[in-house]
Symmetry: C2
Subunit: 551 residues, 2 copies
């Protein structure tokens, strides 16, 4: 059997456009002599469609688009993910389904059995679980059809079991010849490789060759890396799709030659920050493109965060589509402007300087009657950040450009950022990278040549909102802060567990208190691209009003 693994980048809700792409790819695969083409989970609707699934006409259109796609199945068999109605008298009424299309119609349909409902996933909200996994005969092979989570076996990840059922085991008992899995499995750091290891473990355990096709592209906070793969029954890699790009890999199931470039492409050897960089570039490009923006604008402070975001934006959209604006205040140092300008020059982007003292002074004067007699404090610092936000949003409104915010995860965690100030913007590009990781990413960006001026990497971080301010006046050193944040936010460790592992008690309690008290800021933050297994955003749902004091 010749099979085309179609790692496409659908847009959520754009079902007609998604089907057009699938028809083109299927026709091309048929021309190449393929018997079967496999598309990702919910390729019809894009993933995650979220509450669009609650609209009746959304489900109808997805089903009529499935019929449109079936036309090509006179030439080539198609396996595709779509939404199906359950027809049950109770329940959600929908399935997350996989169908085999042949001779112009559905030959078989299976339903996702294991519905992830944790972190960023809400599938129990929308779908009923399938009861039994589905298998089909094609070209003399018995194919087991599974959808994403159905194949995730915690045994190979050292995790706790979330489900009582194991669809792969059930299919193995049905003596299938090959396991097909269609996925929309989002990226997080190291995931392309750990996922591949898990898949290899499954292939080996059940002695089953496997075809795994994953969605690629960015949808809101989520970035899908693709990294589709065909494995033999020993878990060897026969074909590997490129990560972070659309691609179609052809595999002849009678050909057992291994993927030549496997070593490099599998991700083990890849620099971790190079992987993150590719993910963020894709996420940024797709967010802009799918929202209809060609151009972005951002504030350049001369610091590391805005420099990294600017470099990623130039990579994602082309330097001619990126506009950097430096907005110095009376507290900005000379080197900040020099560094911002040097960065803009290195990248070849448009660069302007708009000093903010005029706006800042106007607010001080407007507020003088009510502020009378009170010393300057955080209020004035925030006003400066907000003046910058208003300037960027003004440019955004006037020129139709998307504003990128440049805050990192450390700042967002402890609230070292200003609502409606530096938090203003449509997309938070590096909000899932701790400050120390932003430095690592910057060094990775500078690997071949100095794009980000070296001084930006060496000077102490400062918000420059008051004279001689340094981040470390207000916060623990990032080398201390970041591991505490990783433990508390990403690994759910309690303060006492962190203290037992060697962190200073007072520092831990202070950091944890800051994280908990700043939930209200994050609730109004721009959507941020997710690159860890626990980002702030849709996958982390903490109440604002709560008084839990973790011990």
């Amino acid at each position: 059997m010749k099979c085309a693994m179609a790692q496409i980048n659908p847009t959520v809700g754009a079902m007609e456009a998604n089907v057009r792409v699938m028809l083109e790819w299927a026709a091309a695969a048929a021309d190449r002599g393929a018997d079967l083409i496999v598309f990702p989970e919910l390729a019809m609707t894009g993933y995650p469609p979220q509450d669009l699934l609650e609209k009746r006409d959304f489900i109808d259109r997805n089903l009529s688009c499935l019929q449109d796609l079936a036309q090509i199945s006179h030439r080539i068999a198609v396996i595709v993910g779509h939404v199906d109605r359950s027809g049950l008298t109770a329940g959600r009424g929908l399935y997350n389904s996989v169908s085999l299309l042949r001779e112009g119609k559905r030959a078989a349909t299976g339903h996702k059995i294991l519905l992830p409902t944790y972190d960023v996933f809400d599938e129990d909200r929308y779908f009923d679980p399938g009861e039994r996994p589905c298998w089909v005969e094609l070209c003399g092979e018995r194919l087991g059809l599974t959808v994403c989570e159905d194949i995730w076996n915690p045994d190979f990840l050292g995790q706790e079991k979330r489900y009582h059922q194991d669809p792969v085991r059930e299919l193995a008992l049905e003596r299938i010849d090959r396991l097909i899995n269609i996925s929309a499995s989002p990226y997080c750091r190291g995931r392309p490789f750990s996922r591949l290891e898990m898949l290899q473990g499954v292939a080996r355990r059940y002695q089953l060759p496997m075809i795994y096709v994953n969605q690629v592209g960015g949808n809101d906070e989520l970035i899908f890396d693709g990294t589709s793969v065909a494995l033999d029954q020993a878990g060897n890699v026969l074909r590997l799709g490129t990560s972070f790009e659309e691609c179609c890999c052809d595999i002849d199931t009678h050909d057992s030659r291994l993927e030549e470039e496997f070593g490099e492409a599998a991700g083990r050897e890849i620099d971790e920050m190079e992987e993150v960089s590719k993910a963020l570039v894709l996420g940024l490009r797709d967010y802009a493109r799918k929202c209809g923006f060609t151009d972005v604008v951002l504030g350049l402070s001369g610091g590391i965060d805005s420099a990294v975001v600017c470099a990623l934006a130039a990579e994602a959209l082309g330097p001619e589509h990126v506009w950097g604006i430096a907005m110095p205040s009376e507290y900005s140092t000379g080197h900040s402007l020099e560094d911002a300008e040097a960065l803009a020059r290195n990248l070849g982007i448009r660069y302007d300087v708009i000093p903010i003292h005029q706006g800042f002074n106007a607010f001080r004067q407007m507020l003088r009657p009510v502020f009378e007699g009170r010393p300057e404090d955080l209020a004035e610092e925030n006003i400066q950040a907000r003046v910058r936000g208003v300037i960027l949003m003004g440019v955004s409104n006037k020129f139709g450009r998307l504003v990128l915010t440049t805050g990192n995860k450390s700042e967002l965690a402890v609230g070292y950022c200003t609502l409606y100030g530096d938090m203003s913007g449509g997309l938070a590009v590096i909000s899932d990278l701790l400050k120390t990781e932003v430095y690592r990413l910057a060094r990775s960006i500078n690997r071949d040549r100095e794009i980000i001026p070296n001084r930006v990497l060496t000077k102490p971080p400062s918000a420059e909102l008051r004279p001689d301010q340094k981040d470390e006046d207000s916060l623990p050193a990032y080398e201390v802060l970041d591991p505490i944040l990783r433990g508390y936010v990403e690994e759910y460790l309690s303060p006492s567990e962190l203290i037992r592992s060697g962190f200073d008690e007072a520092t831990v309690r202070r950091v944890v208190g800051l994280v908990d008290r700043n939930e209200y800021k994050r609730k109004q933050a721009a959507p941020g691209l997710r690159v860890t297994n626990k980002a702030f955003g849709m996958g982390r749902r903490i109440p604002i009003v709560q008084r839990f004091e973790p011990r």
Copy 2:
């Protein structure tokens, strides 16, 4: 049996404080001779605890607090909601449980079987479903213990069945004498009455007397109305808890006298906007109180929205804790300032005027080099709104006051609001009320005397961001817009269904397009108090990046 129905207002996560309240109430009930006291669903943790449930120490503390509470059960039996560990080898690992405490320990524990996972509910994210409902013997009665959703029978609501199981039916087959239900059932308009009707239907269908105890209070977006009730087996109301207040109703199960004040308190006769007003006052008061704020500040435009929010705030917190600031621009009309001042005088709140032209001019000058040659447009309108936002946030930062945003649901739906401008603030008080409903609420507030100046209710709405601007220059009349929004947003009607029901096609398509394109603004909106069955916020999850064009 003498039973105390304890309609308490727990704070999420404040388990020690919640237990202290429960111990006090239980001791008082024991003093009154009660055999049993019943507390709401998850009274231990407060509802909804959301991802706090993923912290191990959160679950531990909830269990040790349960032991603390059990001490009082030497004097009085206690039924209470808490989180329990499932001990299963697979699944979520937790139950949403109800326990009977007696003689210092747990006498029985049941687990919620039907886990709501729709709209604002995410229970499948956290909990495993119980398998069988639990019953216990107490004072010679066989009591069936159920948690919230377990008792919600769609037959009495004309809704589709979401579940295959019916715990009440199973308990009826066990020949229980009385159904106990502990709930955290949030308010939406008309819900106190429709919920009561549903409960009466259940009592009658199974000929079962019922004790229903619901949480009261505000937690983030959700407002819990309480409205606990005891019913006889014919569905007659024996006791009814006050809505929107903490209360403890005692019921002697051998006493069949009906609730005297039932007619009024049941909500059928109540003015709908009076109910909404009570809900919003509670939601606002609890949000401020539980976040640690005593004082609020808001912008007074002289329009209806800010007037209504201001009146609600004065009611919730006391006028001495409310500060209204008028921020006129060059486009503000004289009557706006007069109306804002009259409102402040009527309410007895602090009132200041801070004109914004200085800030507005500063931005025009700062931006002149980059705006050169472009006509004034929406960018300048937004700058004015943002100058106001910066002023209010400055006051918030300087004086530690919570900023209330004043936008309504119609504006938020079509994006007729400015991110980081009038959308700046910690709580959106009326963001779940359509503009026409804001008028109804205003008239309800003015029922006894003119609090909101009458001119505010009669003049045409205007954002006053350019000369002679009227909302209806940019939007359909609210009498047309609001029913379309109600249909599209709250009832999930498609454009073609709306057109078929008589709305102008072009208007429907335009409104629907505006709603869909403005998801990005709502994603960064302040949390808004929910008073309908479909509010923007945690219960409505639409991707920003999506291209579905509803027909």
